[in-house]
Subunit: 245 residues, 2 copies
């Protein structure tokens, strides 16, 4: 049994995940939705996403927004910037658990899953710890409309050894894979705020997980021509999305 405890419960009531556009649109290659970061921050102080033109990975921790580039560098975003996809909440965890020994990635995921009471709701997950190794990737800036399956071939991977940092992200039930990445979607940010990326795998030495149950989704659908004219043929699970000719 994992060592976990309930931290408090009052935050659970109005816990809500805000998704600024269905993920399907991004997967189909709509990399510009021009949603202002202010709009995102108004709906949460914690979460993940990307930037217009798929220009790196986004992580939002403690209301600060970081851009994680293909060289593994983190840049704190201060100026107004726009996004086609982000999922955020006001972080208010109610479950906490500690890991106190070096743990391989597959066991780490099992431990994480054992902390979730159900696969049928969303969770915001934050893990602070020391890692023997973190493997991550990011994407280079893209032309709009290029299918994500092609873009993924250009992702750059990198590793960090013996690093302290935070994994921040969202768990999404499988049956909502057209709206938000299904399963665990975690981005890494180092404690010195200089490095990070989309988590591929990690080996934590010690870690504290804090988890927020989220049973309410607020989904925005962009009122842009690109979105309204998109011809969806499926969801992320079967990768059959195609923009309309």
């Amino acid at each position: 049994m994992p060592q976990s405890r309930i931290m408090r419960s009052e935050g659970q009531r109005d816990s809500s995940l805000y998704v600024c556009a269905p993920l399907n649109a991004l997967v189909a290659g709509i990399y510009e939705e021009n949603i202002h970061l202010d709009e995102i921050i108004n709906h949460g102080d914690f979460g993940i996403g990307t930037f217009d033109d798929l220009d790196g990975e986004m992580v939002i921790v403690d209301r600060a927004v970081y851009q994680l580039a293909t060289d593994g560098c983190a840049i704190k975003i201060a100026e107004p910037i726009m996004t086609p996809y982000a999922a955020v909440t006001f972080f208010n965890p109610t479950i906490q658990a500690d890991l106190d020994h070096e743990t391989q990635y597959i066991r780490f995921l099992e431990w994480l899953n054992s902390l979730l009471p159900s696969p049928n709701i969303f969770y915001a997950i934050r893990i602070d710890g020391e890692f023997s190794r973190v493997r991550a990737h990011s994407v280079p800036r893209q032309a709009n409309y290029r299918p994500m399956a092609e873009v993924e071939a250009e992702q750059r991977s990198f590793s960090f050894e013996n690093i302290q940092g935070t994994l921040a992200g969202i768990y999404t039930p499988d049956f909502m894979s057209s709206l938000s990445f299904p399963g665990h979607h975690l981005h890494f940010l180092s404690s010195d705020l200089q490095s990070g990326g989309h988590l591929v795998s990690c080996t934590p030495r010690r870690a504290r997980a804090r988890i927020q149950l989220i049973h309410r989704l607020e989904l925005n659908m962009p009122m842009t021509r690109d979105y309204l004219k998109l011809n969806f043929h499926g969801d992320l699970g079967n990768n059959r999305n195609q923009p309309e000719k």
Copy 2:
């Protein structure tokens, strides 16, 4: 081209659809979620749904809630009552169009679809008119956990001839079929408020359609044991949902 006009646009900004539980849960046979009707009415004055134990079809028009029984009778609901599934909004249409001649169902649907600017957002749809014929159905009260595919065999169909009334309902994009019935989901209520049901087909003689664009979804996930323990294997499209043994 359909005769349509934009009525007004200010209502569009905060137009939101509230769904009190993912449809998948209902399809899998969770017919009791005990969500109070007050909770539903707080999120909208217009919409569709059902009642605990799948006890008839629900239609909400002008903030009044009607239960549509298997004999085709409509009963106005006054007392507190509970539901496992409802989808509602505050009705604020921005598109209006008139049909002025008798129209077969397939042509009526084509006309309706021609009024929707995109298949990728939700719509609230209200059609008031005179109908040569309306074919509808409803479901008898069910034991909890019986898969909906079995229940559907027990639906009772009925027809109304030369009747005035209202079709009220929601259009849902296909890629959100795990959350809300995909496509047009319309319930009929006669003008005298005595009859109604889930629309199967109709032949309008004249009709006025009013349509509200909805680009924001608020989805609630029930924090009940039944919902949290449900084992989803798919969505409505492939009918592979099964409650966990």
